[in-house]
C-alpha cells in the first residue's frame, strides 16, 4: 500500500490522476482519496495540519511493514541555480521551529537527486535572510575535503555551510509529516519527495501551474514507487492448517498465554527447519487424546521442546 500526504489539492491532483484514486465520501476530517493499493490525504497547509492529516491517514490505514508513506508537494529553493520543477528526495529534514533535524533512511536506489529541507510554520518570503548554521567548530565546508577535490557534502549545487540551516530546500510540512509518521512507520518507509516551485521571493505559483509543474515528477515518482520492493519483515511461517493445529493444540493442552507463546515459538522453529507444525501437532487433535490440566499440558509442551531441540527424533 502506498500512503500519500499532500498539503493542497493541486499538489495531489497528478497523483490522484496517475493512481486512479477516488474520493472517499465517508471520510470527514480530511479529503481522502483511495484505491485498492493506495490512499492519499490532503492535509492542508502548515505543520499542524500536516501532522494531523498524516496521523489521521495512518490511523485510518494502519501501515504494514511492506507499505510506504510519501509526503509529496512543492517547496522553495535557496538557489536559483536549481531549475523550477526539479524533484528531490529529502535526506535531511530540519524543523525551523525547534531546530531539530531528522534523517529519513534512503535505502533504495532512486532516479531523484537528494537534498536537505527546512520546514517553517509560515511561508518564506526572503530566503537570503534565513539564519545560517554556526560553523565555528567545523571546517570551512566550502573547501574540498576529499583529495579528489570533490565537494562531496554539497546538496544540489551549493555547499552545505552556505545554506540556511544547512539545507537547500524549504517548505511548511515535511518536518511535521515526519514527526507524525515516525510513530507509525519504520525510518525506511518514509519518503519525502519535494519539487522546486519557487525561490521564496516571487510567491507560490497559481494552483493550475502547480498541478502542471508536478505532473512529470509525479509520473516519475509513481513509476519508481511501483518498482520498489515491499519487503515483508514479518512473514507468517505457518500455513492455514498450521494455524488451526496450533489453535487446537493450545486449547486441548489448556495452555496459558505464556505457554501458548512458547508453543508458537516452538512451531516457528519447526516450520523454519522444514517440519510441518500441523503434522507435529496432529496427535493433540486426535479424538482419543485427552489432557486434563494445564500442568499436564505443560509436560506435553516440554516433550515437544525436547524433540525439537534435537535431543530426540522427530
Amino acid at each position: 500500500m502506498l500512503l500519500f500526504a499532500a498539503a493542497l489539492y493541486p499538489e495531489a491532483a497528478p497523483l490522484i490522476d496517475f493512481l486512479h484514486l477516488k474520493k472517499d465520501p465517508a471520510f470527514r476530517a480530511f479529503d481522502l482519496f483511495t484505491s485498492a493499493d493506495a490512499a492519499l490525504i490532503i492535509t492542508g497547509c502548515g505543520p499542524a495540519n500536516a501532522a494531523a492529516g498524516t496521523a489521521c491517514l495512518l490511523t485510518a490505514r494502519p501501515p504494514k511493514s511492506s507499505d510506504s508513506f510519501v509526503n509529496f508537494g512543492i517547496c522553495g529553493c535557496c538557489s536559483r541555480d536549481t531549475a523550477i520543477g526539479t524533484p528531490y528526495l529529502a535526506c535531511r529534514i530540519t524543523d525551523a521551529g525547534d531546530g531539530r533535524t531528522y534523517y529519513p533512511d534512503l535505502l533504495y536506489a532512486s532516479p531523484f537527486a537528494e537534498a536537505g529541507i527546512t520546514s517553517f510554520s509560515k511561508p518564506v518570503s526572503n530566503p537570503a535572510a534565513l539564519p545560517r548554521l554556526p560553523e565555528s567548530s567545523a571546517p570551512d565546508p566550502g573547501q574540498p575535503i576529499a583529495p579528489s577535490g570533490r565537494k562531496q557534502w554539497a546538496y544540489g549545487t551549493l555547499p552545505y555551510g552556505t545554506l540556511p540551516y544547512g539545507n537547500l530546500l524549504f517548505d511548511m510540512e515535511a518536518a511535521a509529516c515526519y514527526q507524525s509518521a515516525r510513530h507509525f512507520l519504520m525510518q525506511h518507509q518514509m519518503i519525502f519527495c519535494k519539487v522546486v516551485s519557487d525561490y521564496g521571493t516571487s510567491g507560490r505559483p497559481a494552483p493550475g501551474a502547480v498541478a502542471d509543474l508536478l505532473k512529470e515528477p509525479a509520473a516519475s515518482l509513481t513509476a519508481w514507487l511501483s518498482g520498489l520492493p515491499a519487503p515483508d519483515l514479518s512473514p507468517d511461517p505457518f500455513t492455514e492448517s498450521d494455524h488451526e493445529a496450533i489453535r487446537t493444540a493450545s486449547e486441548r493442552l489448556k495452555l496459558s498465554e505464556a505457554m501458548h507463546a512458547q508453543l508458537i515459538r516452538l512451531m516457528t522453529y519447526a516450520s523454519l527447519t522444514g517440519h510441518s507444525p500441523a503434522k507435529l501437532l496432529a496427535f493433540f487433535a486426535a479424538p482419543e487424546f485427552t489432557c486434563t490440566s494445564k500442568k499436564e499440558g505443560k509436560r506435553y509442551l516440554e516433550q515437544l521442546k525436547y524433540r525439537l531441540s534435537g535431543q530426540a527424533d522427530l
Binding site: 535526506c91 535531511r92 533535524t101 531528522y102 534523517y103 533512511d105 534512503l106 535505502l107 533504495y108 536506489a109 537528494e114 536537505g116 560553523e135 567548530s137 567545523a138 571546517p139 565546508p141 575535503i145 576529499a146 583529495p147 579528489s148 570533490r150 562531496q152 557534502w153 552545505y160 544547512g166 515516525r182 512507520l185 519504520m186 525510518q187 525506511h188 518498482g227 520498489l228 520492493p229 519487503p231 515483508d232 519483515l233 514479518s234 512473514p235 511461517p237 512458547q262 515459538r265 516452538l266 516457528t268 522453529y269 523454519l272 527447519t273 522444514g274 521442546k305 525439537l308 531441540s309 534435537g310 535431543q311
Partner: protein, 345 residues
C-alpha cells in the same frame, strides 16, 4: 534452514553500501576524515551534529539497513576502553579490556549479537583513535593490558577503508606490555601482509563449518579465511582460531568433525597460538530484539534455555558438542592451548 533472506528484495534495488556518509561536523575536521572520504568519491556526505542523531533513531530496520549500509563518521567521547564482558573469553589474560573504534560490521551474520545490541545496522567509525591510545597509555602505566579491538566490528575487513589495524599494530609495537587481539572473519590478511609481525598482536580468525557459514552473509568462505590465517601464520604472526559460536545445527557433530579435519589439513596445529571454543550464547534482551528484526531466521528461533538473562542451547547437548570439538582439536593442538568458554565463567 530457512532465513529471512527469502523475503528480502534483490540487492541491486538498494543504494550501494556507503553511498551515504553521515559525518559529524567535528569529525569532518579530523585529519582521518579526508582519508576515509577519499575511498568513496561517489558517496553523498550528509552533515550531522552527533552520530546518535542518525544511529540512535527509533524504528530502524537493522536488517534492511544492512543491505544499504551507511557510514557514520564520528568523534568518540566519554568512555573509550571497557573491561572485558562476561560473555567474552580472556584466554588466561588478566587486565582484559576491549574497545570499539568502530560500531557494527560490514558482514551480516544471522546470529550476530550486534543486531540486538545496536539500534541501527549502519556502521559508525570513530576517527579519534589517538584519544583511545591515550587511555590505553594511562592503563599501561598501571599494569600490562590485554585489549581486544575488534569485538563489535571486524576491523581487518574494514582495513581498506579505515587503516585502523595498521595504526593499532604500530601502537602495539611501541608498547610491549600491550597485547592486542584483532578478531576477524575476513580473508584480508593481505592488507597488512607487508608489516613485520609482532608477538604481542594476535590475529584471531573466527571459523565456521560451511553449513554455519551459509548463515554468515557476505563473509568470505571458510576456505578463504583459512588461507588468510595460513598466510599470517607463515609470516610469523601469532594466530588464534576461534570456534565461537558453536551452532547446534542438524548433524552438528559430523559437521564440526569434518570441518576441524579440514582446518588442520590447511593449518599446522603446532604453530597455532591457541584456540577458543564457545557455544552460541546471547543476552535474552538482545535475542528478543533480533527475533523481531529477523523473525524467519531458524537459528534464532531455536527453543533456547534461558538462565540469568542469557539464552543458550540445551546445556547437555552443547556440552556434548563442545567435548567432541575439544577432543577433535586436541589431536592437532596441545590441549593446554585450548580455551573453552563455560556458561558459569
Amino acid at each position: 534452514m530457512n532465513s529471512l533472506n527469502t523475503v528480502c528484495p534483490a540487492r541491486q534495488t538498494f543504494n550501494p553500501p556507503f553511498s551515504r556518509i553521515y559525518a559529524e561536523r567535528e569529525a569532518l575536521a579530523h585529519p582521518r576524515a579526508a582519508q576515509v572520504l577519499s575511498a568513496f568519491p561517489a558517496s553523498r556526505v550528509i552533515v550531522i551534529d552527533h552520530y546518535k542523531d542518525v544511529f540512535n533513531r527509533t524504528h530502524q530496520s537493522f536488517y534492511l539497513q544492512k543491505q544499504s549500509q551507511a557510514l557514520i563518521l564520528a568523534v568518540k567521547k566519554g568512555t573509550l576502553i571497557y573491561p572485558g564482558a562476561p560473555f567474552c573469553q580472556d584466554f588466561g589474560n588478566s587486565h582484559f579490556y576491549y574497545t570499539s573504534s568502530v560500531m557494527n560490521c560490514i558482514y551480516d551474520c544471522e546470529y550476530c549479537y550486534l543486531q540486538g545490541m545496536y539500534p541501527s545496522g549502519n556502521l559508525v567509525l570513530f576517527l579519534n583513535l589517538e584519544d583511545i591510545f591515550g587511555e590505553v597509555r594511562a592503563l599501561l602505566a598501571r599494569h600490562p593490558v590485554y585489549l581486544c579491538v575488534s569485538y563489535d566490528t571486524d576491523l581487518l575487513a574494514l582495513e581498506g577503508i579505515t587503516g585502523l589495524v595498521r595504526d593499532w599494530i604500530a601502537f602495539a609495537g611501541e608498547h610491549p606490555d600491550l597485547t592486542l587481539e584483532i578478531r576477524t572473519k575476513s580473508a584480508a590478511f593481505s592488507r597488512i601482509a607487508d608489516l613485520a609481525p609482532l608477538q604481542n598482536v594476535i590475529l584471531a580468525w573466527t571459523l565456521s563449518p560451511e553449513a554455519a557459514a551459509r548463515h554468515e552473509h557476505r563473509v568470505p568462505s571458510p576456505a578463504l579465511r583459512l588461507q588468510s590465517a595460513l598466510h599470517a601464520l607463515r609470516a610469523g604472526w601469532p594466530v588464534r582460531l576461534c570456534f565461537d559460536p558453536l551452532l547446534l545445527l542438524p548433524d552438528a557433530r559430523n559437521l564440526y568433525r569434518t570441518f576441524i579435519e579440514e582446518v588442520f589439513r590447511t593449518l599446522p596445529g603446532d604453530q597455532i597460538l591457541d584456540i577458543g571454543i564457545g557455544p552460541f550464547r546471547i543476552s535474552t534482551e538482545y535475542l528478543k530484539r533480533i527475533r523481531r528484526s529477523r523473525p524467519a531466521c531458524a537459528i534464532l528461533s531455536y527453543p533456547f534455555e534461558v538462565t540469568d538473562g542469557s539464552a543458550s542451547y540445551d546445556r547437555t547437548a552443547m556440552h556434548a558438542l563442545m567435548d567432541e570439538v575439544c577432543s577433535l582439536i586436541a589431536k592437532y593442538v596441545n590441549p593446554d592451548k585450548i580455551y573453552r568458554y563455560e556458561e558459569d565463567n
